[in-house]
């Protein structure tokens, strides 16, 4: 005898639908959000070289978790997915936003090249309970 719960997408029978056509299946893990929020990232002046800034977000999970990150210039309207920022508002010759997780922190960092003053960006994050990798 097997137990479990399944919820199908509209138009599918939950008792027979393939897993890909289910919105929930207790036999398949779901990504569970542990923590979400935003942090200010102060980026140093780039005087013909590189301007950098980074922030650590403590997650308290003791393993590198799965995550999603987005970046936004503080006074801009759009948020950007991971490695980019709005170059129409940032007169840089190179923009790189990077995120990574270790056992204690999610690190969000920004590097720009060019000649531009210090600025502030906002990093948005979603950290999941689920590990970034399964050992």
């Amino acid at each position: 005898m097997t137990f479990g719960a399944r919820v199908s997408q509209p138009g599918y029978d939950a008792t027979t639908a393939a897993v890909k056509d289910l919105t929930f299946d207790s036999d398949a893990n779901s990504l569970k959000i542990w923590k979400a929020g935003s942090v200010n990232i102060s980026v140093s002046e780039a005087n013909g070289g590189a301007g950098t800034g980074y922030v650590e977000v403590s997650h308290g999970l003791d393993y590198p978790p799965f995550f999603l990150t987005y970046f936004k210039l503080k006074d801009a309207n759009k948020i950007w997915f991971q490695k980019s920022l709005d170059d129409s508002q940032l007169p840089a010759t190179y923009i790189n936003t990077t995120s990574y997780a270790n056992n204690t922190n999610l690190v969000m960092e920004i590097t720009v090249n060019g000649t531009l003053g210090a600025f502030t960006a906002i990093g948005y994050y979603i950290i999941f309970i689920d590990e970034a990798y399964q050992t």
Partner: protein, 130 residues
């Protein structure tokens, strides 16, 4: 007396009433990504140019999203990546993705001479980022 209600589903071999959060398949205590819309498309970008696809979501806030696209300048097309990059003025053909309160913007850069076609797949979630 305060009572708590909810649903927990554990991984095989664990008791849902006592399992650590890492060993649960689902718990109503934790939010999940909830899909609002997904779709696919292509965009042809002329040489030394960029092209932007706008996808309306009208959520009234900036939602979480994921986008996968191929890079036709790779040796073999049909490889889809969420990777984005922006080397301004560089010779790299790369995408980047943004959203505001009403639309998702997918921008593809083509530094080459010939027109190229990018294929993309997007996923927009109800979850609010900002």
């Amino acid at each position: 007396m305060t009572e708590t209600f909810g649903i927990k589903v554990s991984q095989p071999g664990y008791d849902a009433t006592t399992a650590a959060k890492e060993n649960l398949v689902f718990s109503s205590e934790y939010d999940t990504l909830k899909l609002f819309d997904s779709g696919s498309g292509t965009i042809e970008v002329p040489g030394d140019n960029k092209g932007t696809v706008q996808i309306t979501h009208s959520l009234g806030y900036k939602p979480a999203f994921l986008v996968f696209s191929d890079n036709p300048l790779w040796a073999t097309s049909g490889k889809f990546s969420a990777y984005t990059w922006r080397a301004i003025g560089g010779g790299l053909s790369e995408p980047n993705y943004a959203t505001d309160n009403t639309k998702l913007y997918l921008t593809f850069y083509n530094p080459g001479l010939d027109s190229v076609t990018f294929t993309y797949h997007y996923h927009i979630y109800y979850n609010k980022i900002a």
